[in-house]
Symmetry: C3
């Protein structure tokens, strides 16, 4: 018996999820800087993270790690000397990576540096300018309309310094060197679904998998800023990932109480896709499957043609598709913590399917083996027992060196879990033996 048969004593409570959320929420995250570092420190309380600091100027394929962004303070003094648009009040107020500025501007001149969303008059948008020097402030359309004429004093006390980009990894070793990659990002300031739901889910998923008494596969967790962080990590681990990753997922946007959306990897039917689709098919909730697109999150990097890794993304409330996306309205009120926990459940189920996706060879392939005398088949012949014996029969019929358990599950409609149980029983009796199956040779994959 392995841990997977035990009740999940390692399952976090919803309150633990919410507490972690509340601690991470106010930190002024960006692709570099202290906000990110403090985020990794807090996540490090749950996950034994290996922190890596990538120096500014380091190359990452076609990119260069930018300078580190330091924000001391940033605000505007209105004509009546009221302090408005204060970074200290909300870290969405300042355009990310704003360059230093101090000066007096008319209402009109200031306007060119302001960002709002006419379509969402109450929302403060999230805006960045990582690679082009700019400064700017974000505010709601309503606030913008209420700005009086007159002279404004702008204080952007920031600095771009030689520093580093922060990223972390944690590896849960398994019996085999094949790896499952779990990647999530830590670079947006106070955004809830499109930032915190990802690293929170990844951290608790780590804790659950760590509590499994046995792991066949190795699980690699990566926490890094989006794009430049994923690219920096790929630059560090390129050869290893190419060689070992058999499935991977970008965890992002998993906190809304909507149906699941699975976005396939670039090749569309990789092991990552097959495991996720299997879980969704058997999970009992509504879901949607999508083909890969080269827009989105870090699957863009993992699935770029030079790497083409088997990386998909199981989401719940997809980036760009809910109105609050990338605004101050993507906040705690939007999150359903039970749904977020359901996302962790789904990811754990996906990992369990991957872990149990063994392949076997039927050692008695000429006709059916006589299972009755091995205790693997009812000895009393009565009607309608085919459902009971179906997992064993499918296992034996398709364990021909071309089907892993997922492939048998796909063809039979059965759950990998039930096939795995049949396989263990048959293996105990010497009827099947483990083998390796070339993924590319699996016939009839869905």
């Amino acid at each position: 018996m392995t841990v997977m048969d035990k009740p999940a004593t390692s399952r976090e409570t919803v309150e633990e999820i919410e507490q972690l959320f509340d601690r991470l929420w106010p930190l002024p995250r960006s692709i570099t800087g202290e906000g990110a570092r403090r985020t990794h420190s807090i996540l490090g309380e749950l996950v034994p993270l290996q922190r890596m600091e990538i120096p500014s100027g380091s190359p990452a394929f076609d990119w260069t790690v930018p300078k580190e962004w330091v924000v001391r303070e940033a605000y505007v003094l209105a004509p009546d000397r009221r302090r408005i648009l204060d970074f200290a009040e909300s870290n969405l107020r300042l355009v990310g990576y704003s360059v230093p500025f101090r000066g007096r501007l008319s209402r009109e001149a200031l306007d060119a540096h302001l960002h709002s969303r006419p379509d969402l008059p109450e929302a403060i948008p999230y805006v960045t300018s990582y690679y082009a020097p700019r400064w700017g402030f974000c505010l709601s359309e309503r606030e913008r309309a209420s700005l009086a004429p007159g002279e404004y004093e702008v204080v952007v006390d920031t600095e771009l310094v030689d520093g580093a980009l922060t990223l972390s990894e944690a590896v849960l070793p398994g019996n085999e060197s094949d790896e499952v990659l779990i990647s999530t990002y830590t670079c947006h300031p106070s955004l809830a679904n499109n930032e915190l739901s990802g690293p929170i889910a990844a951290a608790f998923l780590y804790r659950r998998l760590a509590a499994w008494p046995e792991r066949r596969l190795t699980y690699r967790f990566v926490f890094a800023p989006e794009t430049i962080g994923a690219l920096s990590y790929l630059a560090l681990r390129e050869e290893h990932l190419r060689k070992h990753v058999v499935a991977g997922y970008v965890i992002t946007c998993v906190g809304l109480p909507t149906r699941f959306t699975y976005k396939r990897s670039r090749e569309g039917n990789t092991l990552a896709d097959r495991a996720a689709m299997h879980v969704l098919r058997h999970f009992g909730t509504d879901y949607e499957l999508r083909d890969f697109t080269p827009t989105g999150s870090d699957e863009r990097q993992y699935c770029s043609p030079g790497f083409n890794l088997p990386v998909g993304s199981l989401m719940r409330g997809v980036y760009g598709e809910y109105p609050e996306y990338h605004t101050s309205l993507d906040n705690k009120a939007l999150i359903n913590f039970a749904a977020l926990q359901g996302s962790i459940d789904a990811y754990e189920a996906v990992c369990r399917v991957l872990d149990r996706n063994l392949a076997f060879r039927n050692l008695l392939p000429f006709g059916e083996p006589q299972l009755g005398r091995r205790g693997l088949y009812p000895t009393l012949g009565i009607a309608n027992q085919s459902e009971r014996v179906a997992p064993m029969m499918w296992l034996l019929n398709l364990s021909d060196g071309r089907h892993d358990l997922l492939a048998i599950a796909e063809r039979s409609g059965l759950a990998v879990e039930h096939l795995w149980q049949a396989a263990k029983a048959a293996e105990d009796k010497g009827v099947v033996t483990r083998c390796r199956v070339d993924q590319a040779e699996i016939p009839g994959r869905l």
Copy 2:
């Protein structure tokens, strides 16, 4: 002109079918024994069967032929000394392969040896225990409820003796050594659809094919007990079957007046599947196609991974799916003999399609041949003659060494019969010549 163009003078009457049914019905069939032998003798009046007796203890892959089961008498004396559950009254009364027993038991102790079907209170279930020593009786739920308290006397005068398992084959030779396998079972006692419909259909199918004046293919008929009989036959003919069988069918459950169900072979698109699907598509009746499953009848053995023969099953009233299955209610009243004859018609049509599934090479493949001067195309150009010439045009366009007539039929929607007629005409004029097509290279198969 071949026989296929002639009226089917060899077609049996519905009365002949019913008479054969009535003779076979009462015989106490099991996987071995005199009931099976007498069944083969009666079938042997229609089909020149080669009888084979496989001695008890013979190996058949992972199995061993069991001892022969002899039933002298079996019944129970009720507390009032009435004889009940008498094997002489119905051969379903005794659990198949019951071991000898003689003794007195209380109503309660007897109960552990009784089998009924709470969901079908009027039905006596069919129960067997071939490979685990047991004895037992079958009765309706209603009968069970009416058993009085008191002492019962049980007589199971059976014996398991060194004997043999009976199976038979009959081979109708054709011009070619490629074979069509027709397999059916003869091991259930008085069951109608799920026993007798199969061997009866197979026997009359044999008689029809024997009356064809010409056969391109060789047709091999096997009558054997389910599972152990099919395995024993495979053990005997393994190499031959592997080498020669191009299509095969398990005939079972073909007597109900329901739509046809075709269960595909394991590979899903073998010649067997393509011929059966073609017939169903053109037969004008409702039908259903199903993927292979490793539960069912002897396709389980033929399609086990070690053999993986192209064997499907065309049924009408599928095992396990009609309520009377494996009970005393699967009796003559359930059978529609016209429907059973329709099943024989369908199987004959399938064999005809297989027999005519030739492949040709267009000898004039550069543009269309000028068919008009060969009498193969109308010389008067008028509108709307494309339907008339369609079989010839499809034949010529796709006779490229990659399409057999079935493949042309699948792509064009035409009947193999019409393509075959066009091919014969074109062959007569030297426009096409016969060739062989590798089944695996046929493109666009459905």
Copy 3:
């Protein structure tokens, strides 16, 4: 900038189309003869045609070019000496290739030489007998019914002489030797949709493509009688066509105001098919896709198994499927000249897609290139810009040596035009470079 970005100043007016129709309408076309020659001369005013005269008796694969048909006059004198069924009145009156005859016949004897359409009592059918010597006249069912008893005098003053079959080609050279074949026929007498719409569309299409300032591909136009003309052309250009044609279309039946119908080439997913389907998908009008059939027009010859060229047909009012087909009712009143021009638009769009269907290799395939610093991506990060950048992202993700722009379009749902614009921008910045893609290796083609 190429011509494709310019307004189509070369687009003909609807009046020009109608004028060309009116000039071509009365000519007594057949597969040979002066009617065909005059047709080619008029078309030659728009297209610099290379005329070819193939002598009678020349072989064309399995066929022989027939003698040239000369019609001096043909009519019947009714018992009342009225001249009826006069070829001078309508060139549909005489069965095509009627052999000479002069004589007196009873009403009954004449009847065997008359052709009418009981299902279309007002229509004069179009009838030919190119390869079997016959004479005959065509008339409406109503006319036939009104023929009085008595003696008729028949004059068929025709001659079959050693002459030639007339066909023409015109080649618009491009930067590359890969060719697009445009084939249309010029052999039916006064028929509108099923004759004139084809060569008229082809001629104006030529004029449009000739006005493109740049052509990547070479465009080959063929005007020839159906069947024997296409075969004669194939006989002349066989090796060249095999080597160079990457896509081709038979233009016929493009003048009705119905939805578009695209008939695929024999292989079903050739470059010709992919380009036509792409245009239809993005054209905004209703359309229908059909699989290849070996009945129809000259795709029968181009797609015969010996050539198997990638030739489809985009139609509007398919031969054999509108009631007026091959009768006097297929006349000017049936044609919608705006629809005919829409067909030319569609064919030009297809050619543009083919011309722009380049393939590129991403030179920075490891992750995304940093597009912002190259001016290829917004430097300000705001929400919902993925649609704007989608063509660039798809281009980069799938430019892996296995996808041409059409394949990227098929997978992304984007237009080739937009991908081409992204590719040009990326090529300018050295991010991608042109490459060749083996059509057979394109994955996931629709």
